[in-house]
């Protein structure tokens, strides 16, 4: 048995009333769940002694030992499938994808096996698959993707994608406690942003899955968004307030599946104009689904067609001018909002 090492400094920040980054918030959330519940364990590549490619599980191995912090071979299908088996036996595994881009390697076991398990009578699969996502870091086509929509169409899965430190901690805890398989996406561009540092509540809080949050209140126009685009949209909202006197409401979805349709509809009924912003590529992006739901449920309240800002329908490019052109920028949001407001 490994001797248990003291809780390290970098998972005590909240305890000490210090502000934490989004990454630190997730780390603390996982740590607390592992302390609270012996069934929770983590698996993934280089997560042990090294503490993970982004240092998310730094210090976990020393404290929790090698049976709960497992360094795996590079075999995403293998360890994701193994996590499902452990979940069947009553455990609560957390699987780390070194980059979420590689989750596609485990697509079969996630969509065919894990997502259908409860439905097939094999019982629920309480597990979390988490890892870094998103662009803006010159990571090229295989270290920058937003693969949420590859899974959005799969009933049986839940998909979480936080944008603030507070939510990230509350959502990871909720995801771990959830009785269904949860894909938990972490935008790496947000991981260590100093602007996102927050002092978090010291009590054991969760943020419920499936509930959106109003990031910014407004009356003229609604922007529905999530993850990194919450911050770009909020920046755009500031510009629109200053330069156009527009009052823009920004809704952060936080959970994509299940989608908080109610929060979207309510905001649309208030502002009568809807812009959807996502970093994922446009075709088959979540904007299409949201627009359709608004069409079904709030058509009469719309004063303008629903618009969207999304990444171009291309792989994520590497060179800075290409990636900047590919990704939605603040100016795109401003332009689209102006267009919408002028209807």
């Amino acid at each position: 048995m490994a001797t248990v090492i003291e809780k390290p400094e970098h998972v005590r920040l909240t305890e000490q009333g210090k502000p934490v980054t989004l990454l630190e918030a997730i780390r603390e959330g996982m740590w607390e769940e592992m302390e609270r519940d012996e069934r929770v364990f983590v698996m993934g590549e280089d997560i042990g002694a090294y503490g993970g490619a982004f240092k998310m599980t730094d210090g976990f191995l020393d404290h929790f030992g090698g049976m709960r912090v497992i360094d795996t071979p590079i075999s995403e299908t293998g360890f994701t499938g193994a996590a499902a088996g452990a979940a069947h036996m009553g455990m609560r595994p957390i699987v780390e994808m070194q980059f979420m881009d590689f989750v596609s390697t485990a697509y079969d076991i996630i969509t065919n096996y894990i997502a259908t398990s409860r439905y097939r009578g094999s019982g629920g699969v309480p597990m979390v698959i988490r890892g870094p996502t998103g662009g803006g870091v010159r990571g090229g086509p295989f270290h920058s993707q937003n693969p949420e929509m590859a899974f959005f169409h799969t009933p049986g899965l839940k998909i979480v994608y936080p944008s603030t430190a507070h939510d990230a901690k509350g959502l990871i805890k909720a995801a771990i406690r959830d009785d269904d398989p949860v894909l938990f996406f972490e935008h790496k561009w947000l991981y260590r942003r100093p602007q996102l540092r927050e002092v978090l509540p010291q009590d054991d809080y969760i943020v419920p899955l499936g509930k959106a949050r109003t990031h910014r209140e407004g009356t003229d126009l609604t922007i529905v968004t999530y993850a990194a685009m919450v911050h770009k949209s909020a920046e755009a909202a500031e510009i629109l307030q200053k330069e156009d006197g527009l009052s823009v409401e920004v809704i952060d979805l936080r959970t994509l599946l299940p989608l908080d349709e109610e929060a979207i509809i309510q905001s649309v009924k208030k502002t009568n104009r809807l812009l959807i912003v996502h970093e994922d590529t446009r075709t088959g992006g979540i904007a299409g689904e949201i627009a359709m739901r608004v069409n079904e449920k709030a058509w009469e309240w719309l004063d303008a067609p629903v618009l969207r800002v999304a990444a171009a329908d291309a792989p994520v490019p590497y060179s800075p001018p290409l990636e900047d052109y590919f990704l939605p920028q603040v100016e795109d949001v401003v332009k689209a909002a102006r267009h919408l407001a002028a209807y």
Binding site: D46, P73, E331, R338
Partner: protein, 357 residues
């Protein structure tokens, strides 16, 4: 140093000529020097994104690729590299200036700024760009080899994989297919003891990676990866077996990764003495130089001359790469399909004037 006076020279093994020995020296030296330049450029923030080094492994990359039939007209053998196979790429025919441009994300790089690292392709010169998801190129190169066989061409495909990446499903499926079909494929498993921070013992419970070969029903050979001539010999045997219809071979090259996984990795999980041991006693270039000089296959002056010429070539490559432009933003939307660019997001091209309604 005074090798000029040496009267006797030992016979060169594997049917190599003295010119070929010197060419291999040039390639391995070039690999290390080019990576050193790239590291310098990285520190000057001129490299975009990450940088991977192959320090200590350059020998096996060059020597294995050197066993291939190299052509520039699309009739030669083909290889697909991994992150640590700059040496293989230079050997099969990639140019230093192309590599520097690639790392600087330039518009006239082989991937035109869309992709990074040495993930570059030129079918004519015989290289297929790898992708990051590890193992995926094993089945792809099996398919390349399949076509050589289908068309009755005596060409060979070579593909590299790290010890860590042999754990992926794609590796297994690709190797198995190649073995079953007796394809002209050479799989080089680079056992450099580490996969990022994870030692090989956590990657496989098998005694060695070459032990997997009989499990697939294919030929296997293990070789000292820091002995360039030994690697060349093993690769040559595998290539000849493939070319003559003998099927696929797995070669396990025993080597050592002396740098971290990438530039950002300080390698704190490795005992520095272990790295130092490999550096001082088992550097592939040092060993090769010693063999060249001790056997009288080359003179110290010749090797110095080659080094100087490489420095000049790299000066020019870097200068040229620095001058070349970044790609125009709109290029982000080309090459998604064969029949023209995809649409730009409407916010990028429609006028700001919102009088549409």
């Amino acid at each position: 140093m005074a090798n000029k006076t040496r009267a006797r020279t030992t016979t060169i093994p594997h049917g190599l000529t003295r010119d070929q020995l010197l060419e291999m020296y040039r390639l391995v030296r070039l690999t290390r020097s080019l990576e050193e330049r790239l590291e310098l450029l990285f520190k000057q923030s001129k490299v975009i994104g990450g940088l991977f080094r192959s320090l200590g492994q350059e020998g096996e990359s060059v020597a294995s690729a050197y066993a291939l039939r190299r052509r520039t007209d699309g009739t030669g053998d083909m290889l697909s590299p991994l992150i640590r196979n700059l040496g293989s790429m230079l050997t099969i025919g990639a140019k230093p200036v192309e590599v520097v441009k690639q790392y600087m994300a330039k518009g006239d790089s082989l991937a035109r700024g869309k992709e990074l690292n040495i993930h570059i392709t030129d079918y004519d010169r015989g290289f297929v760009g790898q992708i990051s998801p590890l193992g995926d190129l094993i089945p792809v190169m099996a398919g390349v080899a399949l076509t050589f066989k289908q068309r009755g061409e005596d060409r060979v495909a070579m593909v590299y994989i790290g010890d860590g990446a042999t754990s992926t499903g794609a590796f297994h499926e690709g190797v198995n297919f190649a073995a079953v079909q007796k394809l002209p494929l050479v799989v080089i498993v680079e056992n450099n003891r580490w996969a990022y921070s994870t030692p090989s013992k956590f990657m496989t419970a098998a005694r060695s990676f070459v032990d997997k070969a009989p499990g697939y029903g294919m030929a296997g050979e293990q070789v000292d990866g820091n002995d360039m001539l030994a690697v060349y010999g093993a690769s040559k045997r595998a290539v000849e077996r493939a070319r003559s219809g003998g099927g696929a071979t797995l070669i396990e090259v025993m080597t050592y990764r002396r740098k971290g996984h990438a530039q950002h990795d300080a390698q704190t999980y490795v005992d520095p003495a272990e790295i130092e041991h490999w550096a001082s006693t088992n550097d592939p270039i040092d060993r090769y130089v010693k063999a060249l000089l001790d056997n009288g296959w080359a003179t110290a002056q010749e090797l110095t001359g080659i080094g100087e010429q490489i420095d000049r070539e790299l000066d020019e490559a870097v200068a040229e790469a620095e001058k070349s432009p970044l790609p125009p933003p709109e290029e982000a939307l080309t090459d998604v399909y064969a029949d023209g660019p995809v649409n730009a997001p409407w916010t990028r091209h429609e006028p700001a004037d919102p009088t549409r309604a």
